[in-house]
């Protein structure tokens, strides 16, 4: 059973959701910055927002179809939705919260289902407590159990674990995976955290400005981001316009000159011609600073540079370095000290060819 979504929804003059995708059983991450339309998308699938046009299906079951004028009411959609706020009923006990969706069942059956899920999410001990009397981790579990006890056809989670510490998070996710092992429903997990994407998802769909930028495995989408905005999200701090100077097919590399500077760098080969303008990106943590000109080095890019400024942020030093263009480089305070780095000091930047990414400059705007 898979969830197929193809919809358009205009929310304001400069924001419209326009997506088409389908997700198989298992965990799919929906990744994007705030305001990218993630929550709107979930609400459309749940039926809380009516799309302007399109179709939403679970397997062959149509939930919404603008052409056929089909729009299944929210209570009949059989979708599990975990709100970011959890939306637990404050006046009901944990057990009553979970039983809430089992209205159609007879009492003893509802009891048993509730007891079972209380046990599998390890919250039996707080069954009589109100939501404000339990810990935030327990609250997440209650909300999850409440959504799952109804046996939904699809589960959607809106940044459910962002408020929790990492061990609690991964424990809850393990429980969720165990629960889904024999049910095998599609789970759509919304997040803006890169770490969650890698830790939890088998697949990822990345969303920006209401459109899908790319989809695939987390490695595919985040490790080699092809869109600048995605690269920014994924921790690429340095972006440069460059022109291709020469292409070396044998080594699979090409030489580029940074625009507005004499600096040349070697980057991975891509399907471009000599002279074409490209945009390249590199993470601040992937650049090495050398105090003197390094020799016998595998890295192909050694660029003379001068330190502009050093700024401490937590356990990290952020260096601004002039190498024709301004680079941002991250290093540890220890490294900074042993190299005796200070503004104006001459250094060399060492960059591996394959640390560079080619990015398509996105001018994705709404509409």
């Amino acid at each position: 059973m898979q969830l197929s979504v193809n919809l358009k929804k205009r929310l304001s003059a400069n924001f419209a959701l326009d997506v088409k995708f389908s997700i198989p059983p298992g965990v799919t991450m929906l990744f994007g910055a705030s305001g990218s339309g993630k929550t709107t998308l979930l609400r459309c699938v749940a039926g809380l927002i009516r799309p302007d046009s399109g179709q939403i299906k679970i397997g062959e079951r149509i939930l919404f179809d603008s052409d056929a004028r089909a729009d299944v009411p929210v209570p009949q959609r059989k979708i599990g939705l975990l709100f970011q706020s959890l939306a637990l009923f404050p006046h009901l006990s944990v057990a009553k919260n979970i039983e809430y969706g089992l209205d159609g069942l007879d009492r003893s059956q509802a009891r048993r289902r509730t007891e079972d899920i209380l046990k599998s999410f390890r919250i039996s001990g707080v069954r009589k407590h109100r939501p404000n009397e339990i810990s935030s981790g327990e609250r997440q579990r209650v909300a999850l159990a409440r959504a799952l006890v109804t046996d939904p056809r699809v589960l959607m989670l809106d940044e459910p674990l962002s408020a929790l510490d990492y061990p609690t998070q991964s424990q809850i996710i393990d429980d969720l995976r165990a629960w889904n092992a024999d049910r095998d429903i599609p789970i759509l997990y919304v997040t803006h955290s890169q770490r969650e994407v890698f830790a939890l998802g088998e697949r990822v769909i990345s969303l920006e400005n209401g459109r899908i930028l790319s989809q695939g495995t987390p490695q595919h989408v985040l490790e080699a981001p092809t869109h600048e905005s995605l690269a920014q999200l994924a921790g690429f701090e340095n972006f440069f316009d460059a022109a291709v100077v020469s292409i070396n097919h044998d080594s699979g590399t090409m030489l580029c000159r940074l625009e507005g500077a004499a600096t040349q760098v070697e980057v991975p080969l891509s399907r471009v011609e000599i002279g074409s303008k490209i945009r390249i990106a590199i993470r601040a943590g992937d650049i090495i600073i050398a105090g003197e000109f390094p020799r016998a080095l595998s890295a192909r890019n050694v660029v003379p540079a001068k330190i502009i400024s050093l700024k401490r942020e937590g356990a990290m030093i952020i260096a601004e370095i002039d190498a024709g263009k301004t680079f941002e480089v991250h290093l540890t305070p220890g490294a900074c000290e042993s190299l005796a780095l200070k503004p104006e000091r001459q250094v060399w930047l060492v960059i591996k060819t394959h640390s560079w990414r080619l990015v398509v400059r996105t001018t994705v705007s709404a509409g």
Binding site: F83, A87, L88, F89
Partner: protein, 225 residues
Amino acid sequence: MDWLAILLSLKLSSLVCGFLLIIGTPIAYWVTFSTWRWKFLIESVVALPIVLPPTVLGFYILVAIGSQSPIGRAWAVWSGHGLAFTFEGLVIASILYSLPFAVQPMAVAFSQVDRQLMEASSVLGASTLRTFIRVILPLSINGVITGAVLSFAHTMGEFGVVLMVGGNIPGVTRTVSIAIYDEVQGLDYAAANKTALLLLLFSFVVLSIVYGINRKSWAVWPLRR
């Protein structure tokens, strides 16, 4: 003290309070959740008794339920007598007169319920009615109690509307406030003082209850959201 009038007022207030819970709840729900663009017109109509002089309201109710009106005639055919200057007429008039006092606190309480709880309920398969009974109502019970108490108390104290619609028939339409007026007219200040004091104490107790259970909001005419 005119015990007959006091008992009549209590009976009238209880009936009005009961009817207003039944009629006022759906109106309050609609006022809160409707997205109809002309909703404000209905809100104004519901709130009208607050600003209207009771005599004006009473006059139009009298015309509306009088023997010349369709309502008055239909009632006469059904019950054998007219509505004006009867207890039934008084009940109808009092319901209209106290409507905003029941609807407003309920509407405010409903609007303060977190929308996401209602959405969660709906996603979990609950109908609108079930969501109302199991989520909205329990979370706005203070507003409902406030509405009930205020409409009860407001009916206890009404004067102008009663005089216009009910007249002054002992045991039928003579309520406490009319009795006080009568006693003053008859220069029986001692009796008037006793009845008035009773009403004063009653009003104080009622308002204390309302503010006590509902400390955060202005109970009579709260600001919306």
